[in-house]
């Protein structure tokens, strides 16, 4: 079994009003120095062995992200015992 993380973010050119709202709230709470906040989604997938990155990209492009407005990044999370079997 493998754990894969898919991070989905709005494309840079897409307005992110949620991130802007977070960025606007921080100074009011006394946190200065945050220039920009972008808000996205974080998916953790538990996969059977043999599901390759190409398939995960298809999963991301088909359902997890909307390619019109979002980019995604796939990260394989190393398991503590996986170094022997990987």
């Amino acid at each position: 079994m493998a754990r894969v993380v898919v991070d989905v973010m709005p494309k840079p050119e897409i307005l992110d009003p949620q991130g802007q709202a977070v960025a606007g709230a921080l100074p009011r709470l006394g946190f200065d120095g945050v220039r920009e906040v972008r808000q996205g989604k974080h998916f953790e997938l538990e996969l059977d062995d043999g599901v390759d990155d190409e398939t995960v990209h298809q999963i991301a492009a088909t359902l997890l992200a909307n390619p019109v407005i979002e980019d995604w990044r796939i990260t394989r999370v190393p398991e503590s015992s996986s170094s022997e079997t990987a």
Binding site: E13, I14, P17, Q18, L63
Partner: protein
């Protein structure tokens, strides 16, 4: 000819009853379609109504675009069947790839619920032929994720091909790019818009009766196709 127009209900759909009523008021038969249906029961056109299908989980319209009933809808649309998406239905048609672009959170994050003026930009589609180009109509808008976005090349192509069907008269209403309220497919048979023509079909219950023209348009389109 008694046209039969399907109205889809997903879990979380809200406006199917009003859409069906608009269909009947225009003189056609409203055929209820369920999200789990595998076929379209022989309807002549389909309305994908508004609401919050599947609770807007993941993205508005994302889960619904993969519902069983959408498979025959997508096939029929590719063969030229008129399909209208209103509000969440517009989001679903974009997610399904039947219409270009996407709908995102309104600028300033406000849910907008009020009557808005739209300018009919293209009166040649299956769902807008009862209007005249340049006509202004008053219909309710009620959405939190109604901000139409697409890349510049797509927007330029839509404008060049006259595929912007409805535009907000008031600029920067919800942040929609180029104030786009509704667009159509290349063949003019699939239309999606964020405002709700089905809530403006008679003066007793809506701000105007302007919205009924959307349904009478498709009835004309079906008669023309049959004749």
């Amino acid at each position: 000819m008694n046209a039969r127009i399907g109205v889809i209900t997903f879990p979380g759909t809200l406006d199917d009853v009003d859409a069906a009523r608009a269909v009947r008021l225009a003189g056609a038969e409203a055929v209820p379609l369920w999200h789990a249906d595998a076929d379209l029961h022989g309807v002549d056109a389909v309305i994908v109504p508004g609401g919050f299908s599947y609770g807007d989980y993941l993205r508005a319209g994302a889960i619904a675009s993969f519902a069983p009933v959408m498979r025959p809808v997508i096939e029929a649309a590719r063969d030229g069947m008129p399909v209208l998406g209103i509000c969440n239905g517009f989001q679903i048609l974009c997610e399904a790839g039947l219409l270009p672009g996407a709908l995102t959170r309104n600028a300033r994050l406000r849910f907008i619920c009020r009557d808005v003026w739209l300018r009919v930009e293209n009166a040649d589609t299956a769902w807008s032929s009862a209007y005249s180009a340049g006509q202004e109509i008053l219909v309710p808008l009620k959405s939190g994720e109604g901000r139409y976005v697409a890349d510049q090349a797509t927007l330029d192509a839509l404008e060049a091909e006259n595929r912007v069907v409805f535009r907000y008269r008031d600029a920067a209403l919800n942040g929609a790019m180029r104030d786009i309220a509704g667009v159509t497919s290349a063949d003019g048979r699939v239309v999606g818009l964020m405002p709700h023509p089905e809530h403006a079909i008679e003066s007793a219950t809506g701000p105007s009766a302007d919205g009924l023209g959307v349904v009478t348009s498709v009835l004309n389109a079906l008669v023309t196709a049959a004749g």
